[in-house]
Symmetry: C3
Subunit: 250 residues, 3 copies
């Protein structure tokens, strides 16, 4: 096992939540304790190209999009330890209520509430209905709306209306999550549930808003472990087509 | 937030389960309490075009198909409050044992059992092995069976045999769920897990059995919130192709 | 219900875990108790073409790949009863940590730990980091690596490197799971989550390593019940194309 020797030393440096092994691995799947401390905690999370904070965003967005409750307690806590602010973490759950499903948000909120309670983070400190709004790019929004109207208004005017009023002129303008982070969460959720066909629009937005190509590449690496290899292999050609279509200076 | 002011009054009218907020939203994701009381409970569930009963069918079918246990207690209870009969609710679980998976049905039954116990609904009142059978459309069934035989008999005769004997000449004929509702449950489950490619056959059946185009459009709107926007955007072109292929008088 | 009469006798022969009904079916969905004892336990699990051991491998791989925790306790226990060794069962969880996601493995380990404790299976008896390695087919691995390098190195070198170092030159060589079983687990996971497009490579490997066409056909039958009919109907054309491309003597 290539990663066992060289990383044993590194693994001992890591402390706290970032090094926590899922408790039942030790007794039921000891091999995963070893892969965990060497490859995952000792190597993946320390790779350059994507910050630990952003790796936590990718990881918790994956867990929420898939309603994977078993890892939520430790990974939501790690996200806070890695510098994701409570307002951002709650903002991720709010965003995924719409981009994964209301039930996914409910499961995430159930896991998040006791963590906030333990850490003394009161509801009043978290973003509510009214937050400062980011500026709307009216031209881009008009183009998006025109396309959706043309393609979908006759199929479901309800979806078209809510997409405009609740998503693109409300949710996406909320300042509790930076535009770049919101797009990273969206791309992650799409890869995690196997909907790579919708990645181009959102990955393009993410890169327009500052996500670098190296960061997107490393988000795929993080996703390989947390969403599983097959989801990532289906997404890689789509990422490549987005990369190839952008200016080479990036 | 556009929906805050105009719907605040409407929200106060709603009472009981239909207005219940998922408990942990208030402390962990306050923004979702607001979206919940305004956009979801105060607007979505009251839209014309699809009855509250049918919205509950779409919602619980989504939760079961995705094994989203966090919302099951409140949404299964709301389904009963909205007029879904216990025999129909158990019929939905039975149907999804085959159209989502045996494990999905197990999770749903685990959530349903305590609700029935609280409400005093005994097992003897629920449909068992023997229920009145709906008439078989022999011509349509022969055509379906011939197609499946031709395409799949050499790949898996077991799947072909069970499809005929257990699904189309048994499950689909059970009278515990009306044909139109059974098809709505099936279409919902397909959209919820991202298998829009199988929607045409079942959406056509649903519309043959009385689901209107307006109801199908509103089912998509309900699905946007409970299955997440991406699943619905992948399904809309498929719905449109089914709509376009039907007589314009519908 | 065709299966009620002829299988009633057979059902009485089955004892123990193999006949256990999911407890809440009786009170909440009695129809599923009947389908369970007749069609599923009384017929599916006894079909020729795939051993009960292999049916358990398909079933638990489905549950883990979908994080379906409700059925895990009974099906993990049944797998042990059906002859899946603890080292193999933990090996399946290890494999799916990479092929379904780290969170899926965590949920499976949580369900597996109390079963091992009850049965007195200590962690020291389970495979850890170091297990005997199966021989590497250097030629096939070089071809795989060259293809992945050419297609994906510019998109995510991290994914490419881990795929080589952790998956194909480590995980796939672990002797805690036979190559044929490891491929069966992988194919099952792909079908269970709706990623049939990646089945050909892994089904070909499975058949190269001894999985017969009849066994693959029956794996689809088992998957129909545990992953749901739609997943299997999307997978059948892919299985057929793999079958058709192989020598007719198989």
């Amino acid at each position: 096992m290539k990663f066992l020797a060289p990383l044993a030393a590194a693994a001992t440096i890591v402390t706290g939540a970032a090094n926590a092994q899922h408790a039942s691995f030790e007794s039921a799947v000891p091999a995963l304790s070893h892969y965990g401390s060497t490859v995952v905690q000792g190597d993946l999370w320390k790779r350059p190209g994507l910050s630990a904070r952003d790796r936590s965003i990718v990881t918790v967005a994956t867990l929420i999009a898939r309603e994977q409750t078993a890892l939520m307690p430790e990974e939501l806590a790690r996200a806070l330890d890695n510098g994701v602010k409570p307002s951002e973490l709650s903002g991720i759950v709010t965003h995924l209520a719409f981009y994964a499903g209301w039930g996914n948000a409910a499961a995430a909120a159930d896991a998040l509430a006791p963590i906030y309670e333990t850490r003394g983070i009161p509801a009043e400190s978290l973003p509510g209905a009214e937050v400062e709004q980011l500026p709307l790019n009216q031209e881009a929004e008009d183009a998006r709306e025109a396309g959706v109207q043309a393609n979908h208004a006759e199929t479901s005017i309800g979806v078209v209306d809510y997409t405009r009023d609740v998503l693109f002129r409300d949710l996406w303008l909320r300042s509790d999550l930076a535009a770049r982070d919101r797009s990273l969460v969206t791309v992650t959720a799409l890869v995690a549930v196997g909907q790579a066909e919708q990645v181009p629009f959102h990955l393009g937005r993410a890169m327009d808003n500052g996500l670098t190509r190296d960061e997107a590449s490393e988000a795929l690496t993080q996703l390989a472990f947390y969403a599983g290899w097959p989801r990532v292999f289906s997404a890689m050609p789509v990422f490549r087509s987005v990369f190839d279509a952008r200016p080479t200076s990036e």
